[in-house]
């Protein structure tokens, strides 16, 4: 606990310093309209009952959270001006700012925090986030105490806008199902820096500065127009001709390469560390030849990660080798990385008794892929594994649900997939490896059917370990084992890029990309 408190003290000091230096360096202009393109249509705008970054982008502007994070993963005060974690790790006290109000003028109180936690616990798909929270006490209007059944370090990162928006009890507590509440989309009463003017499905979301926002002088922008443009080429052209100022989660390598060369634009991969998107080749460890760890290792040695990074992703994706995103403080690089080694791969298969037939092939496997962007990787897998005598069939699925059905019912040998860390490993990493999470019909559970008692134990211990250094050690051992036993072979980070016009000041390139409050964003004049 002491480490966290120390961190907090350092953080506040740096925050003050940063704030002063920022003012000195570049005085932000107030006013103006930011045009921001969204590639996906959000189902609605309430992140308390809907995960995903499509809802996260508008959601983080409409709703404030107890904490916000800087690019070094350090928590900063937001709706909570300060917070304490009990020595035993079993309670977290949030001291809320006194002057915060919702967009309808009602004060934001500890009751709303308690209500938000309860709503998220009951309706949000990430059950592990707040699972240990047994109750939220509200001794006074500005103090909320989260009581925990066990220490839960993942809680702190979960207190960000993407995962813990503070929603008004007097609106969403009216007895309607919060998942289908009409005010998730229209007449949203939020707590964040911007209020909703209009949400036109498949067209745009218009947000306007909330004048009574609790942080003095913010937000800088008067207006934010989020245009829903699904076609990546159209977005690229709009960025290039200046119609769009900002776009996040861009992933098409050719467009990004082209836009990097445009003088008026900046394209950066920064800002996605907490979201933590990883590409990997997952194996069915329960049946078929991939149940043999030597086969999995041979496959990893035969796949050239450099080819994937440079030829398929045109050099804009980063190397990744474990189930934890390399941008996370809990990532450990001390693992087997499976650099290309065809001799070793052949040797492994020979030793395991897989003889080559007359046609030079040892056995057949199939490879699936979750969405069309992954197809080149699947085709490359076929070519790469032919060299070690594995005859691979590439299986296409017509759409996401069809693929999800196959994989989650274990009807596969190998599949390319993209999975997000979602902040703390407890939320987005454990689900892939826990033996208790082998659940038919659920995609992004442990569809590899991987079982290892020590791994289960390590995750259990790391989940409640409050000492950061010890926690990192536990996760280091975890990463070592899972890259050795290889239920999945991680190749790269998904090359998400934020592309913005150079007129944009303070673009959202912290750890949560556009799922963070954009009250500091401004347009330079």
């Amino acid at each position: 606990m002491r480490t966290l408190l120390k961190q907090l003290a350092v953080a506040s000091a740096t925050a003050v310093m940063l704030a002063t230096s920022a003012v000195a360096a570049d005085e932000p202009t107030k006013g103006g309209t930011l045009v921001f393109s969204l590639a996906q249509q959000p189902r609605h705008l309430n992140p308390a009952v809907q995960s995903g970054t499509a809802t996260g982008a508008p959601g983080a502007q409409l709703f404030a959270a107890p904490l916000r994070y800087d690019e070094d993963w350090t928590p900063q005060p937001y709706l909570a001006e300060s917070w304490e974690i009990a020595e035993d790790g079993l309670s977290v006290t949030l001291n809320l700012v006194k002057n915060a109000v919702f967009h309808d003028g009602q004060p934001i109180t500890s009751e709303d925090v308690a209500f938000s936690v309860k709503t998220i616990q009951e309706n949000h798909p990430f059950k592990t986030m707040f699972a240990p929270v047994t109750e939220v006490q509200t001794p006074d209007a500005h103090t909320a105490i989260l009581k925990l059944s066990k220490p839960h370090p993942a809680l702190m990162l979960a207190m960000s806008s993407q995962l813990m928006p503070i929603i008004p009890k007097h609106v969403y507590g009216d007895g309607q199902d919060p998942k289908a509440h009409p005010q998730n989309s229209d007449d949203v009463v939020g707590s964040g820096p911007f209020k909703l003017v209009e949400f036109k499905r498949d067209e745009h979301i218009i947000l306007e500065r909330f004048d009574d926002f609790f942080m003095e002088g913010r937000p800088y922008l008067d207006k934010m127009v989020m245009r829903i443009i699904k076609d990546p080429s159209a977005r690229a052209i709009g960025l290039e001709n200046g119609e769009i100022h900002l776009s996040t989660f861009e992933v098409v390598a050719r467009d990004i390469k082209r836009l990097q060369k445009v003088d008026s634009l900046t394209a950066t991969p920064d800002g996605y560390a907490a979201i933590g998107p990883l590409d990997w080749l997952a194996f069915n460890t329960a049946s078929g030849n991939t149940a043999d760890v030597n086969v999995r290792k041979a496959i990893a040695y035969a796949i050239d990660r450099d080819f994937i990074l440079n030829a398929i992703h045109l050099g804009i994706a980063d190397e990744a080798s474990t189930g934890i995103h390399p941008g996370s403080p809990l990532y450990s690089g001390d693992v087997e990385t499976y650099a290309l080694d065809l001799d070793k791969a052949n040797q492994l298969l020979d030793d395991a008794g897989y003889e080559k037939g007359d046609d030079g092939m040892r056995f057949k496997l199939s490879v699936d892929f979750g969405w069309p962007e992954m197809k080149p990787k699947a085709e490359y897998t076929k070519a790469a594994l032919k060299k070690i005598g594995i005859d691979v069939t590439v299986r296409s699925s017509p759409d996401f649900p069809s693929w999800a059905k196959r994989i989650s019912n274990y009807d596969f040998d190998m599949t390319w997939d993209t999975v997000f860390n979602w902040g703390d490993p407890v939320i987005g990493v454990h689900r892939t490896y826990q033996s208790s999470n082998i659940i038919p019909g659920v995609i992004w559970s442990n569809t590899q059917s991987y079982k290892n008692d020590r791994v289960d134990e390590l995750m259990e211990m790391a989940g409640v370990e409050t000492d950061e250094a010890k926690r990192a050690e536990l996760y280091a051992e975890f990463q070592k084992i899972v890259t050795d036993e290889l239920p999945l072979y991680t190749t790269n980070t998904l090359p998400y890029h934020t592309i913005y016009n150079n007129k944009v000041g303070n673009p959202p390139i912290g750890i949560w990309a556009s799922s963070s409050p954009m009250d500091l964003v401004y347009i330079k004049e």
Binding site: T33, R201, K230, A234, F400, G428
Partner: protein, 324 residues
Amino acid sequence: MNVISTILQRVLWAALLLLAVLILNFSMMHLAPGDIADTISQSMGGADATVMAQIRSDYGLDKPFIFQLGTYIGKVLHFDLGYSYFYNQPVTTIIFEKLPATLLLVLTAQILALIIGVLLGVYSARNRDGWASHFVTFFALFGYSAPVFWTGILLLIAFSLKIPLFPVAGMVDVTVEGGFIAKFIDLLRHMVLPVITLSSIFIALYSRLCRASMMEVLETDYIRTAKSKGLSNREIVYKHALKNSLSPVITLAGLQFSAVISGAVLVETVFSWPGLGTLALQSIIARDTPTILGILFFSALVVIVGNLLTDLALRFVDPRVRGH
């Protein structure tokens, strides 16, 4: 009397056809693997078994097929197309919200294609061996064979990026301030590229058809009679020949109405035009069954009504059909 019973018969057939379409669509959607729970969990970045089961029971997806089908037909009979899983709104509300945008795009493109197509067709029929006629033929083949999303992107690169005359996406620019005139001009600017893209295929189709039909008519006896009467060429073409050569074009235009709608799916996606096409694609991707079924039902309705109107229009221009 005979006319009325024919019409009644047609309406009855149309209703039965619609019912068949409804059952077929519903069954096909049911046979497709996966459902809304998968896509919701996709958009949420994963959901556990309890959440998935909850979603399925919320939407009645855990009930037997026949029960679901019966409920659905019952609802449609009461003009209720169901409730969208994805948009959290009644399907009819969403469709009627998106309909004006699609109608604006489709009708403008269709009218433009008809006018330009017919003019080009007549011109090239009259000058069948001139270089301009060959150009029209080439242009027609090109327009017909080029995929609309490709034409759309090329137009965007040319007229939004290289020569920035038109906006890149959407139907209105919400940052445009001003009165009705300013907003109207803004709408027109947004319409230009999608309308050209969508009409390009149909210009090709109509001009080819009109050319062929015109050439045929120009060979007929009554045109020769008109010529020998000493009528001017212009009078012959526009007064006598055109009216007679239009009937295949109109038939085709009516039949093509469904093709225009399917073309709109692609064009709307390229230009982020907020119409039924975008909605259709979005709801297919999201496995939003009630919305997909609603759109399919609605398009079936439009096509059937479109065919009926074509029939009536033909009776108007071609007296030969009136007798039948």
